[in-house]
Symmetry: C2
Subunit: 182 residues, 2 copies
């Protein structure tokens, strides 16, 4: 597991072979395949066992909490191994429903905690009672991940823009001193 995380963190998902993981772990390739039928499953399990993806701890104040959600997405999707490993696995996940299910299980507790935080704000009437909190979380993660893929800036301006959108329902503005993100 450590060998897997070390290698994919350095090199990315696709440049690492099962052979090189087995070699680094000091075991045979057949041993690896006995436990993990595909590279996608091995990598997802390694991420699950070695990467801490924690939910945001609610402060009870929606703006603070939403800002923390965006910060957390920036940590995960611009800095952690998931930032490149998750997108790189796109085709493999399409072909490997068990690996995708394992990925969703691994991300599940953090997601559930973050959903709880948003529904708790809905309980205080700070969000609509029937808000689709799952879509809001995907919007936060997706915006950050997409900008990272194209090499576009993700910073404190982005945090403000997304918090303003969700908390105040203000569409994102171009901030003076920054050029529009065209």
């Amino acid at each position: 597991m450590d060998a897997t995380i070390d290698l994919i963190s350095d090199m990315g998902y696709h440049r690492v072979s099962i052979e090189s993981i087995a070699a680094k772990a000091g075991v045979g390739k057949a041993t690896v395949y006995r436990w993990w039928p595909t590279k996608a499953r091995l990598v997802v399990e390694a991420l699950g066992s070695r990467l801490e993806i924690a939910p945001v701890v609610s402060t009870g104040e929606l703006r603070v909490d939403v800002r923390a959600l965006v910060h957390s997405a920036i940590e995960i999707f611009t800095k952690s191994p998931l930032s490149h490993v998750l997108p790189e696995m796109a085709t493999d996940l399409d072909d490997d429903p068990e690996a995708r299910a394992e990925l969703i299980r691994f991300l599940g507790p953090a997601r559930a905690g973050n959903l709880s935080l948003l529904y708790s704000a809905a309980g205080r009437s700070e969000l609509p009672h029937d808000v689709d909190a799952g879509l809001l979380l995907d919007l936060i993660c997706g915006t950050v991940l997409y900008r990272r893929l194209l090499g576009r800036r993700v910073n404190s301006v982005t945090v403000d823009q997304i918090a303003d959108l969700i908390v105040d329902r203000c569409l994102p503005r171009s901030v003076s001193g920054f050029s529009p993100t065209a």
Copy 2:
């Protein structure tokens, strides 16, 4: 170029080698490397020369136009070769600024057209005059792409939810008859 698109459409970016592209095109590997120093540049140029990514044609009505933007993102990020090739290139693009610049050039005309559509709505005061239209486009594309990576539903409900958010500034609701997207 056709050989490249055919192979990556079928197999994904990482399972295709320069060798297999050269073989399918009936040329030597050295010939391919003479023109394209990296696989990322070859693939981005092939996408640019063979894939039509058109901007949405404005109707002058914001809701219709935003719905068309979301539909267009769904076409591109759940159906076209870009849907898996772009995420799969994550690590290679980080290491290959020329390939990323070429990708941004290839996506540029469609993005410029879509920015024009949103700024035109701002000109009619249907959006804030200083709206960050680039972020709105990234939000639309990113939400669709992220949900596709995790295998979550992207459909007409998603189109309605994003249009309601941008046009009416209503946060996404869980639609009756659909379970929340937890």
